[in-house]
């Protein structure tokens, strides 16, 4: 009964989304306030209905209701509770349901928090959002219904793919989807602005929080996914330039560009058409990502639960929404009043450079990801584009971004002073060189790691240069500095932190060059050195888990002869699926990690071990957390500012006559 209720709620939500897609839009055309008012209520109701559907599916999983095909295929009564819960979205049907749940969640948030948004914009936005929602609800109902029943229910389920039975899976897809789907809000706002034919600096202010929220979750989702791949796949790598990873990176790059161009729009009323374009692009790339992951057209190491037949449906959604929005853009874009053109050396000039480089690097990732698909369709030849391609194209485009990041922050709006600004970065520059030289001397080869680590230090210190100038302007007394620091807007702190986070991640990436890898056969009692540590294999023993049996290799870690910890890599054999997975052993010491993987026991009684010492590797993900934190702080700033148009206090330079 609960299951049927969920199914019914889903159908109702579809019908409601059609209503929400038509009436408020019609109302905004005709200026009918009553029709427009349907939008927010419908959006909230839609969320409630989809939440009921999602709740029903969750209940089916928790109670191991094996009359549901979806539960049979992906669950098992012996499975730990947390994986019963995460199993809800660990499969195609459930993950699509999560997708629309989040979509309607954002719709409801806009409806609730949008009282300050002009009614016409709000109504049109919610209508556009409802069209996306209707398309995906139809997709779920027609091709991937999670509520399909079985006539003859089996007594036991097939269990969830063992590689997905990990706490990381409980968090990663929801985070990533919050990011992907979050861009639907910016998309809807952009489409609404085009439909209404009106866009101004205020628009950028309404959209900013939604872009920020999407960006924060996407950042966390990508970082989480990369960490999950790092410790579950057991190859010691954290980024494989795999199509599915690229699919999440592309919207991130476009979204980052959007965040920055929206700032220019908000402050200077310029770059309007471009910002709208980026808003459409970011969500288009999110849809593309969903398509790539869900359809299985590209071979990937991460794609679970794929089905090519459904791909056609998502492809149709993709074509309609991306095509439709770009046609709308082409028709209405020229009508938008273009903003001013500004001096190349200025804050906005630097932000344009940032946009240029980010979108171009996004384009290279796009090319590398889809080129094999295009070539195969055209010539039938099968190729793979791997890490070397991306290292060769992506990295050179990112180096100028790292160099320009701190500089852009210290440049003034409207007209900057290049030399004066560069001077403010002297300290950061000197420190960067010192750290680079120090690391090159102590860590040695490869030199490129030291160079990039130096660059990272430049980015980190440089991120705070602007704040430092602003708080140390009137004297060095600690009290003045403190009070000035408290007086700075949150967004200044947010920007500085997020930029510093990029530097921290870069440092972690640079340090991968100093990693050590050893592959060897070990006997119980053997001791091997790895980096500054020594590992002893104490025992290899079997152990029984709830739904698996594992072989655990117990090792002791010593440093300078002193025991400092234990590490337990293992191999798990999942009984229901007859499948073996590798569980890496991980220990973190001073931001570096020891990473050990074992494979099967050899006939001679030895066990094959692969071990790594990865100095500073934790900084890669720590940096992402700092970026997200910066985004969060910046988000908090909005409340203080909304409704109050903040203009530059004085306009020192008058635009020269033209």
């Amino acid at each position: 009964m609960i299951v049927e209720t969920g199914h019914y709620a889903l159908v109702l939500a579809f019908a409601l989304s059609l209503v929400q897609g038509v009436l408020p839009l019609w109302g905004s055309r005709k200026g009918d306030v009553a029709l427009m008012a349907i939008g927010p209520s419908a959006a909230i109701m839609q969320f409630v209905l989809i939440a009921i559907a999602f709740g029903a599916l969750t209940w089916a999983y928790l109670s191991s209701d094996f009359s549901l095909l979806n539960v049979v295929q992906n669950s098992h009564s012996q499975k730990p509770l947390i994986y019963k819960l995460s199993g809800v979205w660990g499969n195609h049907e459930g993950s699509m349901l999560l997708w629309v749940l989040i979509l309607s969640f954002f719709g409801a948030l806009v409806a609730l928090g949008g009282r300050r948004t002009p009614q016409e914009l709000l109504a049109t936005t919610l209508s556009v959002q409802a069209w996306i929602s209707a398309a995906f609800l139809l997709f779920i109902l027609l091709t991937s219904n999670p509520f399909a029943r079985l006539a003859l229910p089996p007594v036991e389920g097939n269990d969830l793919n063992p590689i997905l039975q990990d706490p990381g899976l409980a968090i990663h897809p929801p985070l990533l989807y919050l990011g992907y789907v979050g861009f639907s809000m910016t998309f809807s706002f952009a489409a609404a602005a085009l439909i209404n034919g009106r866009i101004d600096a205020q628009w950028a202010r309404y959209v900013r929080p939604w872009t920020l929220i999407a960006w924060i979750f996407l950042t966390l989702g990508i970082a989480m996914g990369s960490y999950w791949a790092y410790y579950t796949l057991g190859w010691g790598g954290f980024w494989f330039w795999d199509p599915v990873e690229n699919a999440s990176l592309m919207p991130w790059l476009a979204g980052t560009a959007l965040l920055h161009s929206a700032t220019v729009m908000e402050k200077r009323d310029a770059l309007k058409v471009w910002t709208i374009f980026l808003a459409i692009l970011a969500f288009s790339l999110s849809l593309l990502g969903t398509f790539l992951v869900r359809s299985g057209v590209l071979t990937s190491v991460h794609a679970f639960a794929t089905d090519p037949r459904r791909g056609v449906f998502i492809l149709a959604i993709l074509v309609v929404f991306i095509g439709g929005s770009f046609v709308l853009f082409a028709l209405r874009g020229p009508l938008l009043k273009a903003g001013g053109i500004f001096a190349p050396v200025s804050r906005e000039g630097a932000l344009v450079l940032n946009n240029l480089l980010l979108t171009t690097s996004c384009a290279t990732v796009f090319t590398g990801t889809l080129y094999p698909l295009a070539l195969e369709a055209l010539t039938g030849e099968k190729i793979s584009v791997g890490a070397p391609f991306f290292n060769f194209t992506f990295v050179p485009l990112f180096i100028p971004i790292f160099l320009a990041m701190p500089l852009g922050q210290v440049l003034a709006w409207k007209r900057g002073d290049f030399l004066g600004s560069a001077q403010r970065l002297t300290l950061a520059f000197i420190l960067a060189i010192c750290v680079g030289l120090l690391l090159a001397a102590t860590r040695g080869e490869p030199v490129v790691s030291a160079v990039f680590a130096g660059l990272a230090v430049f980015v980190i210190i440089g991120s705070f240069a602007e704040i430092w100038t602003r708080i140390s302007g009137s004297g060095w007394a600690p009290r003045t500095i403190l009070s000035r620091a408290m007086g700075l807007p949150f967004s200044a702190w947010g920007t500085a932190l997020a930029h510093a986070g990029v530097g921290v991640t870069l440092f972690g990436l640079a340090a991968t060059g100093w990693g050590v890898e050893r592959i060897l056969a070990m006997r119980v009692g053997d001791q091997v050195g790895i980096g500054p540590y020594a590992l002893t294999l104490d025992a290899v023993a079997p152990r029984k888990g709830p739904n698996y049996d594992e072989t655990v290799a117990r090792m002791t870690i010593r440093r300078g002869g002193v025991e400092i910890g234990q590490i337990e890599p293992s191999r798990k054999f999942y009984r229901a699926r007859q499948m073996t997975t590798t569980d890496a052993g991980l220990r973190t010491y001073f931001l570096g990690q020891i990473y050990v993987v074992v494979t099967e026991q050899n006939a001679s009684g030895t066990i094959d071990v692969r071990m790594y010492w990865k100095p500073y590797v934790a900084m890669i993900w720590l940096g992402a957390l700092i970026m997200a934190l910066g985004g969060g702080i910046s988000l908090a700033d909005r409340r203080l500012r909304i409704g109050v148009a903040r203009r530059a206090r004085v306009r020192p330079v008058v635009q020269p006559a033209e």
């Binding site: 590689i163 190349p344 290279t364 793979s384 584009v385 993987v597 692969r610």
Partner: protein, 154 residues
């Protein structure tokens, strides 16, 4: 600075970045892509020995020979031809006889291949898409059996 000059600088720098990126992409696509072959395609297209490529097919039953120091050899077949692959290192969890595999490495001779990377996706019903397509084309396609317990849903 006039409006015209500013616009020129903007357009110029945009074109400059795009030009550099396009150059990088073209250059990288020439040198850094790897073609996928099945054993019979190797015979048909005869890539020169020393070419870096991806070889895909099924691991022939009973062909896996483990040597000292994690060296391993196995035959990759696609129904008509076979190529012997030598590899040194740890094999992925899902590497099994009779299952699909993709090996990346260098062709030594038309029947000898030295792999430096062996890929297998983490799913027991996995058949690399390229391998599945190639086998279908030759009429050797047998879809993997359903996972244990799946009979129940039919």
């Amino acid at each position: 600075m006039t409006r015209k000059q500013r616009r020129l600088i903007l357009i110029g720098s945009a074109l400059g970045v795009l030009f550099v990126a396009a150059g990088l992409v073209m250059f990288a696509l020439r040198d850094n892509i790897v073609f996928f072959y099945t054993p019979s395609e190797i015979l048909a297209k005869a890539p020169a020995p020393g070419t870096r490529l991806r070889l895909g097919g099924l691991v022939r039953q009973g062909s896996v020979v483990r040597g000292d120091d994690r060296a391993v050899t196995f035959d990759v077949v696609d129904g008509e031809r076979q190529v012997t692959v030598s590899y040194k290192g740890l094999l992925p969890d899902l590497f099994r006889e009779g299952q699909g595999v993709v090996a990346e490495g260098v062709l030594v001779s038309p029947t000898q291949f030295r792999a430096d990377n062996v890929l297998a996706k983490h799913d027991e019903t996995y058949m690399p898409r390229e391998v599945a397509d190639a086998l279908k084309k030759q009429g050797h396609w047998q879809p993997n059996g359903p996972p244990p317990g799946a009979e129940a849903k039919k």
